[in-house]
Symmetry: C2
Subunit: 314 residues, 2 copies
């Protein structure tokens, strides 16, 4: 077992990401002491029951006082509040990072409040599930997934290397990027898909001609895929929409333009145009599977999980 | 093992659905003889290599000559051509069915050509994966899934009961519905989701500001879910769009209206409206899981398939 990278890590927020971090930090011995902090007393009590840390502290300022590494895992809209709370108690030389899905806004919210004696290195592990809360986390969440760091100009190289090493030992591959580019990339690969999924599930829920029970019964024909994304944490996603507005509106505009063209092809019965689009998109999935970012199993492999195959007769 | 329901079944088309039928018919002993027919000689040869049937016949007319049950599993746009080919050779009393994703169009294409001495009962098993072709099928495909039959007025009750029994022995639950209602239900639960998925993958593929390699690397954050649907058979989906046009355009119009409202909420920073929608949609997924139409595992369980969990240290 490798030596711990940090003496004390403070986890501010202990939801899906925070509690997955707690589990992998413990399993991989990445810190000697894990301090867990979260605002809601019930959540803190649950973290204690799950034995996610060594210390459990309601007050974020108190939680960070001895930490070499502070990780804020909160909805992006709460970033400024966390920075204000912890600023005065941070240990000089500590690394402060976050896991938020938008980066420019988090920097704007946190950087002005943090003392120059700490290393603030914003980050975003591209990993998650539709579940939330401290029970939802698991140690393997980051395995094989990318983590994007968006260091500010003048960031200390040693601190950056150490945080990189931390994420690698969590199982991640690490990339660096400027915050605005991160926000544009995530707008298309994550934010737009979630917004579209929320929207289509809402549309189906509002129909009168088709009953809700029919939508549910026949959901296996495609719809249920969308319900997974649309079951994600509503506070997290509200904040993403509010804090990456411009990039999201840009991607929504492009999506809507393309959808109008597709709608016209359907109206006019332009089979060739439909076939061309439907063929081109097939290649994208193959590339994702080849890049190790998706399982190589039909239907995400869920059929195997639901119905372990019976032996076929000879 | 129960007795076979049919002497001879003819499978016209041996793709994902046809080849899954071949496998379950064999495993469950649903017919004494399986005749496989498909237009392309390579596909027929592959079906033979996979030992999917007892006889392999290029000519659909010849394939149906002795069949008590004929199942057309072809893209819906090919339905009329199949009906014309087989009409003169069908055995009196035979049941003729299909598996097409649209029903009004299939009826319009097939019914006028079929002799009154056969029982034409259109059907649609709500099951599939993003893969296609005779290698993609598997015997458990229909397990726990719904199959919708859309019998025409005056359909023989005995024939309907027999076809119902057939699908039940394939593992399906069977519903009947009128064809127009089927097409409306499927437009929202299946056709719209596929069209939206094709569209968003196309939008991502066309971006200049974000490279294709970035889309692929970071796809695990939501986008990859859509690529599964967008990897489905392009011919099948072209035909669905062309043959369920009105219901699809209706659903697209509703979806676009809702998306405009959501876009405005993002532009105006209306967090309350976003939170309300994102909360309401969460409940839909729970209902689908409770109805047995989805796996109760985060991330479709694909994480378990990709990374069997390591034991956590105590």
């Amino acid at each position: 077992m490798a030596d711990p990278l940090f003496e004390t890590v403070a986890l501010i927020g202990i939801g899906l990401i925070g509690s997955s971090l707690a589990r992998i930090i413990r399993r991989e011995n990445l810190a000697k002491t894990i301090v867990v902090s979260t605002r809601r007393p019930e959540t803190l009590a649950r973290a204690r029951e799950l034995e996610l840390g060594d210390d459990y502290v309601g007050d974020a300022a108190e939680a960070v006082a001895n930490a070499d590494l502070v990780i804020a895992s909160v909805p992006v809209g709460a970033s400024e509040s966390v920075a204000r709370k912890i600023a005065d108690r941070l240990k000089p030389g500590a690394i402060v990072t976050d896991v938020g899905s938008t980066k420019a806004s988090v920097i704007q919210q946190m950087a002005p409040h943090l003392p120059s004696a700490v290393h603030f290195i914003p980050g975003h592990p591209i990993a998650g599930t539709e579940h939330s809360g401290p029970d939802a986390g698991f140690a393997d969440l980051f395995e094989g997934r990318w983590c994007v760091l968006t260091p500010l100009p003048g960031t200390d190289e040693t601190a950056l290397a150490k945080l990189t090493r931390f994420w690698e030992r969590c199982g991640s591959r690490v990339d660096t990027m400027d915050p605005e580019h991160h926000d544009m990339v995530l707008a298309i690969v994550s934010h737009l898909p979630h917004i579209i999924a929320y929207n289509i599930v809402g549309t189906a829920d509002d129909l009168e001609a088709v009953t809700k029970s029919e939508v549910i019964k026949y959901s296996a024909s495609g719809f249920r895929d969308f319900t997974r994304l649309a079951a994600s944490d509503p506070i997290m996603w509200r904040d993403v929409c509010l804090h990456n507005r411009d990039a999201i509106l840009e991607m929504l505009a492009r999506f809507s333009e393309d959808l109008s063209a597709l709608q016209r092809a359907i109206r006019w019965g332009d089979g060739e145009k439909l076939f061309d689009l439907f063929t081109r998109t097939r290649a994208v999935r193959r590339s994702i599977i080849e890049a190790g970012q998706e399982v190589d199993a039909p239907d995400f492999g869920r059929h195997v999980i639901a119905h372990p195959p019976k032996p076929e007769k000879a």
